[in-house]
Amino acid sequence: MNPVAWGLLAQVVLAVCAVASALATRGHVRNVLAGSACAGVAGAGAVTGMSVLAGGTVAVQVTTALPVPPMVLAPDRLGGLLMLLVGAVGVIASVYAIGYVHGASASRTQWAALALFLLGMQLVPAAGDVVAFLLAWELMAAASTVLVLAEHAHRHTVRHAAVWYAVMTHLSFVLILAGFAALSAAGGSTSFAALAGTGTAGAGATVAFVLLTVGFAAKAGLVPLHVWLPRAHPEAPSHASALMSAAMVSLGAYGILLVGVRLMPDAPTWWAVLLIALGAGSAVYGILHAGVATDLKRLLAYSTSENLGLVVAAIGLAMLLRTHHVPGAASAAIVAALLLLVSHAAFKATLFLGAGAVLRATGERDLDRMGGLVHTMPWTAATFGVGSLGAASLPVTGGFVAEWTLLQALIHGVRPADRVVAVVVPLTLGLIALTAGLALVTFVKAFGIAFLARARSAAVLGAREAPWSMRVPMVLGALGVLALGLLPGPVAAAAASAVGAEGARVAGLGGVELTGVGAVLSPAALVGLGAVVALPALVLVLALARQRPATADVLAWGCGGVRTSPRMQYNATSYAEPVMRIFNDALQPSRDVVVTHLAESTYHAERVRFSQRVDDVVEARLFRPLVAAADALAERARRVQNGSINRYLGFSFTALVAVLLVVAG
């Protein structure tokens, strides 16, 4: 057996151990044992992914009792990259969970579900045929639903969120099943190796592409199928949110890559344009909602929609440019898609773990009630800060390199003679730039309001820093974000080899060179240059600080008065007010201002109460009517069933007559 096969076997064995230890032990022992075993599953997955990336191949046939051909596990390099990504996120989330879980989220069901969820997520990219893919997909979907339900006994919103999630995830499953059925019919096989290179001309291929794209888009949280994200992520325990948001949605993007790059590579133009529109639309919509969100985990969930939108837009761009004969820029775009995916996994895991640490220390998810946490939770603040830099695509983080790569692909994808490219590329550039700008506002708000300034509620004042078992994973995540930003060359080269593109190679100082477009970026050299130019200023600062130490503890400016109430600070709602006002038509917030006047005079207000709600427009306009229609239909169908035995006997009789008529005719 080769290392890849051993790795796959080890994952299954470790997952069984994790489930067994979750069921057999209790209390703190269970957390430690099951958590370590889960970290082992994820770690084995990461190692397997690495050996696949290094060139290891395997084809494991698993015969099952099901009436289907044997399942095949045969990860290719792209699958290996995803296994590595999912495994790395899985390790830090599992270790974090040891210190984080408490109460309902520490139950044996939850730990067992976590182990199965991790295993499912590893098997999806390892699958080599349709059957294995679908079974692993369903394992992942079902286990994650259990994880979302963790605190259902305490909050009714959890049950609501879980219903939305279960419906959307199974809708996605059904669409993918139908899509693969159409694809297998068109390609005449269920194995991915045989399906690769299926023609894209026939109606079967078109139907398969549309069904699969919509199915995977629902899992990736793309608008308009994103509605489960902002509900499920806030309600799930934070380690599960991190896994779902950093790892599971990436598998949605993997599905789109599988279909668009591996199975049906010669995409017609409209497929590519569809993906770009879907992706760019999700990016702008997601970041707008993240920008005005005040619930920290909801904000992060919407930002996931944004980032996966960017990934899918990059995939679409690569398909478009390849079809329109701009191969250099196309390979840069596909490398950009993978770099975006990897950097998103790193910073989103860090951010969700940080949000979880805040939630555990203060019981708050509402940014409007946070503030000043940098004093009580310095480690969490630092790691969340690094994650925010990554999410805002600023140097020197993985997000910055990924976005730079995408912009390079766009700027070199110039074909004035080709009308489609000439129109699509600059529009995409504008939308991506707007997304990047709003991401800056969003994450300055998230970090600045939560961690800086003064505490806005009493709960936040008594916050204690997270224990070491939670701090270490957060620090590892933050280091990952920085490492992806400082030494992007090897990652980009691995990503290029994963999709078989000659797109990127390592340049000096661990930098990245995009060979297709002839662009070089070495973030380490940028940091070096920054250090050189900043050196004189730094020396001067240190000398002056020694000569004249600053006087701390003076009063902040209050227009000449002493204004000490923390309620007078800007909070998350007011911070986002300009954005809300500018994009009022797109967001459609509902505001309520109630002024209570003094009894003596209506000119004096005693109290002013302001409340604001931002409902998801897509949910309100698209899904609510659908749900209402389904309800109405069900209501009408209930009239048929009134509980009367006579009526049921009548139905049976009619059915029997109908059958007789059919058989006789």
């Binding site: 000043g372 940098v374 004093h375 830099l389 805002a392 695509s393 600023l394 140097p395 976005e403 730079w404 912009l407 390079q408 700027i411 070199h412 110039v414 004035p416 600059p426 550039l429 504008g430 939308l431 730039a433 707007l434 700008g437 800056l440 506002v441 300055v444 600045g448 309001i449 800086l452 300034a453 000096g508 100082l509 662009a519 070089v520 970026l521 050299a525 940028l526 240059l529 920054g530 050189v532 130019v533 900043a534 200023a537 730094l538 004249r548 600053a550 701390a552 503890d553 003076v554 902040a556 400016w557 204004r563 923390p566 007078m568 600070q569 800007y570 911070y575 007010e577 300009p578 500018i582």
Partner: protein, 315 residues
């Protein structure tokens, strides 16, 4: 990395630091003269800087290390920007291309630093300035990238040094419709990013209309000196970039002493001209209402997009 471009980049940073207080001095002096005042002279900003550096900084109670670090980060970002943008010479560095995306990211790093600085003291004004500043930065971003896209189409690269060199070598492209539209869009962006009229009034101290000033309200002593120097540097570097795009003559194409000296002198001339023009335009203009600013920025985006369209017609 070859040494010559690196040395030139460091020379550029030194020149920019030397010129930045003078650029601000010239705008203030011009403004004073046009308004019928005597004015403090062009050296006043440099004297202010010296005075601030000698003072003990005061920091509000409850501030975090962000208050200490952010001014230095802001300054570093401005210095790095001066090294990346072709001011004196158009020589690309081999490992860090003076790519516009990199330059914009470095600029935004400074923007984020000052926005966090505004929030840190926990006063209402700091938060207000920070929120407005970030919103404007977000809306500026599409224009920046699309206008640079338009400028890069004829050159085939987004490296600023190559764009400037191409315009110097083929002056016909400066007056092309695409070039003019893209530069006009960039000028609006530069005004927004540096907080000048009509988007922000750099001399206002009325709390409700401040943007930039509101964020540095809590700063004093050397903290304020760094924030001021960084903002002045940012203004000078971006004006220098606009100057080199419109009048690319004199920008050194090699690393010799003569060309670099000529480049520095040419830069001084361009900056003086633009500073006077900026001040003259500001005297004639009133500040826009905050919520009219998006309309202006949307207009600049349309210009940038027209520039892309126009560049297709030529190509």
């Amino acid at each position: 990395m070859s040494v010559a471009p690196l040395v030139v980049a460091l020379v550029q940073v030194t020149v920019a630091v030397a010129f930045a207080p003078l650029v601000v001095g010239v705008t203030r002096q011009t403004r004073a003269r046009l308004e019928g005042r005597v004015g403090p002279g062009v050296l006043q900003p440099a004297r202010d800087l010296r005075k601030l550096l000698a003072k003990t900084p005061l920091r509000a109670a409850g501030t975090s290390p962000v208050t200490v670090v952010a001014p230095v980060v802001l300054l570093t970002s401005s210095l790095l920007l001066a090294a990346l943008v072709p001011l004196v010479a158009a020589l690309p560095l081999s490992l860090v291309p003076g790519d516009l995306f990199v330059a914009v990211s470095v600029l935004l790093l400074g923007t984020v630093a000052i926005a966090l600085l505004g929030l840190d003291a926990g006063s209402a004004f700091g938060g207000m300035g920070s929120s407005r500043h970030m919103t404007i930065s977000a809306l500026v971003e599409p224009t920046v990238l699309v206008s640079v896209y338009a400028l890069s189409i004829p050159v085939g690269s987004s490296a600023l040094a190559l764009i400037v060199a191409a315009r110097r070598d083929h002056p016909a492209s400066i007056a092309s419709p695409a070039g003019v539209l893209a530069v006009v869009a960039l000028v609006i962006v530069v005004i927004a990013e540096t907080g000048r009229l009509p988007i922000d009034n750099p001399s206002t101290h009325l709390e409700l209309t401040m943007i930039h000033e509101a964020m540095e309200l809590e700063q004093s002593g050397r903290d304020l000196a760094w924030v001021d120097l960084a903002s002045w540097l940012r203004l000078s570097v971006l004006l220098g970039l606009v100057g080199n795009l419109v009048l690319p003559w004199g920008v050194a194409g090699s690393a010799g002493f003569g060309p670099v000296l000529l480049g520095a002198l040419a830069l001084a001339g361009k900056l003086a001209l633009l500073a006077v023009l900026l001040a003259a335009a500001e005297v004639a203009m009133a500040k826009l209402r905050l919520f009219r600013v998006p309309e202006l920025l949307a207009g600049s985006f349309v210009l940038a997009f027209l520039a892309v369209t126009a560049s297709y017609l030529v190509a």
